[in-house]
């Protein structure tokens, strides 16, 4: 029905342009939109898939090449490039090997969303959001007011557990930054004084662009600035940090049982994301110096 009207209106349009007979008053209503209709007929709409099939592995060997502080990853004879077309140049050999490992581990299909280190390197090199280091640090600090560690449960049992597990980390954090951050009751964020915020900002700004992006990625995985800094300072391991960020979930599943396809999957994802972020921070701040004992 609709098609017929559109087609007839096309005819009308041409009729009217030639002077038209004007007898079809109803059809004449189409005239105001005629130019649009003509335009529509001209556009060709191609079907487009937004979730294309993952690319299959097209390479055999993954190698790392380069020296003098810049390393590149090669897939057979192709250089690995970022989505914007820059060559992936990594300042640390260990990190380059880890990125290469991600490509080597791919057996059949290439799923970029699971290659966290590659993705992080792409982000730093391409800088798709045109961010400065300051912007990234600012984004990271926005998570501080709603830090996981600062929200406690009302129920007595879980509250005791949270206090037991989280308080030592919070204490360590307060001591490190000379602050007095307390867990906040209710829904509103914690009260963090400006001087403390600035101290933490300065701490984060002391890292380079690469490591700062690692911090943001870690904080986004755990929703906690405090745990991320604690892990970056080697106070706790990646496993412990991701466990602490999921404390309530762990408590509930230990009581009601866990479901492998949801809880375990989520656990492994958080752990993979966070350990990737941590690796990224540590590789990029790695300073290899060995002191020999004086003879």
């Amino acid at each position: 029905m609709f098609n017929r009207r559109v087609l007839s209106s096309h005819r009308d349009v041409f009729d009217l342009e030639r002077g038209g007979d004007g007898s079809h008053t109803m059809r004449g209503l189409w005239w105001p939109v005629a130019h649009q209709l003509l335009k529509q007929a001209a556009t060709v709409t191609l079907p487009r898939r937004f979730l294309p099939e993952a690319r299959r592995r097209f390479y055999k060997n993954v190698t790392v090449a380069g020296n003098g502080g810049i390393y590149e990853v090669n897939l057979d004879l192709h250089k690995l490039k970022t989505p914007k077309g820059h060559t992936l140049q990594i300042p640390n050999y260990g990190l380059a090997l880890a990125v290469a490992q991600e490509w080597a581990v791919t057996k059949d299909k290439i799923v970029p969303s699971l290659m966290h280190l590659t993705g992080l390197s792409y982000t730093v090199i391409d800088n798709p959001n045109h961010e400065t280091k300051w912007d990234t640090v600012h984004k990271t600090l926005e998570y501080l007011d709603t830090d996981t560690l600062l929200f406690r449960e009302d129920g007595e049992e879980l509250n005791t557990l949270q206090a037991k597990e989280w308080d030592p980390i919070l204490e360590w954090f307060n001591k490190k930054f000379d602050a007095d951050i307390k867990p906040c009751p209710g829904l509103f964020g914690a009260d963090i004084p400006d001087p403390v915020r600035e101290t933490i900002r300065r701490y984060l700004l002391s890292y380079d662009m690469w490591a700062v992006n690692g911090f943001l990625y870690g904080v986004e995985a755990l929703k906690s600035v405090i745990l991320t800094i604690a892990a970056a300072e080697r106070k706790i391991t990646a496993e412990k940090a991701s466990f602490l960020s999921r404390l309530e979930l762990e408590y509930q599943t230990s009581r009601w049982g866990s479901v492998e396809w949801a809880h375990d999957l989520d656990k492994q994802e958080v752990l993979a994301r966070f350990s990737a972020a941590l690796l990224f921070i540590h590789f990029n701040t790695w300073q290899a110096t060995t002191k020999h004992k004086s003879k």
Partner: protein, 126 residues
């Protein structure tokens, strides 16, 4: 109910105990073994792990940071931590992919498969 609750508490405390200071407790050689194991899984069938550059780099770092009479190593703990994180990353992403493959990669399941997942049995059909 109280015994059940006591049991879950026990399991939970065991879980917690498991996580306390894992990096300090896990021997470094065990982390190294874990790393090599994960690396071996990523290889193509005809390859040997000894020829992979990551393996060579790792062994070099481990040897370089070994405490000997000749050198004093400040970064040994830092490296142990890094190696541990690396092993964690490789293992977690492998486990994630395995779980994803198992539960979310296929299309719809048959009634029997669904029943098997939750541990039910279908009535015999005649």
């Amino acid at each position: 109910m109280s015994t059940l609750f006591g049991k879950t508490q026990h399991i939970f405390s065991m879980l917690l105990h498991h996580f306390t200071d894992m990096a300090a407790v896990t021997p470094k050689i065990q982390t190294l073994r874990c790393l090599i194991r994960e690396m071996r899984r990523s290889l193509l069938p005809h390859e040997n792990v000894r020829h992979s550059p990551a393996f060579v780099y790792m062994m070099k770092e481990y040897r370089r940071n070994a405490v000997t009479d000749q050198q004093y190593c400040r970064q040994q703990e830092e490296m142990a931590y890094l190696a541990h994180t690396c092993a964690t990353y490789l293992e977690a992403s492998r486990r994630y992919q395995e779980l994803h493959q198992e539960y979310h990669c296929r299309g719809e399941r048959t009634v029997k498969e669904t029943a098997d997942i939750v541990g039910f049995k279908l009535p015999n059909e005649h």
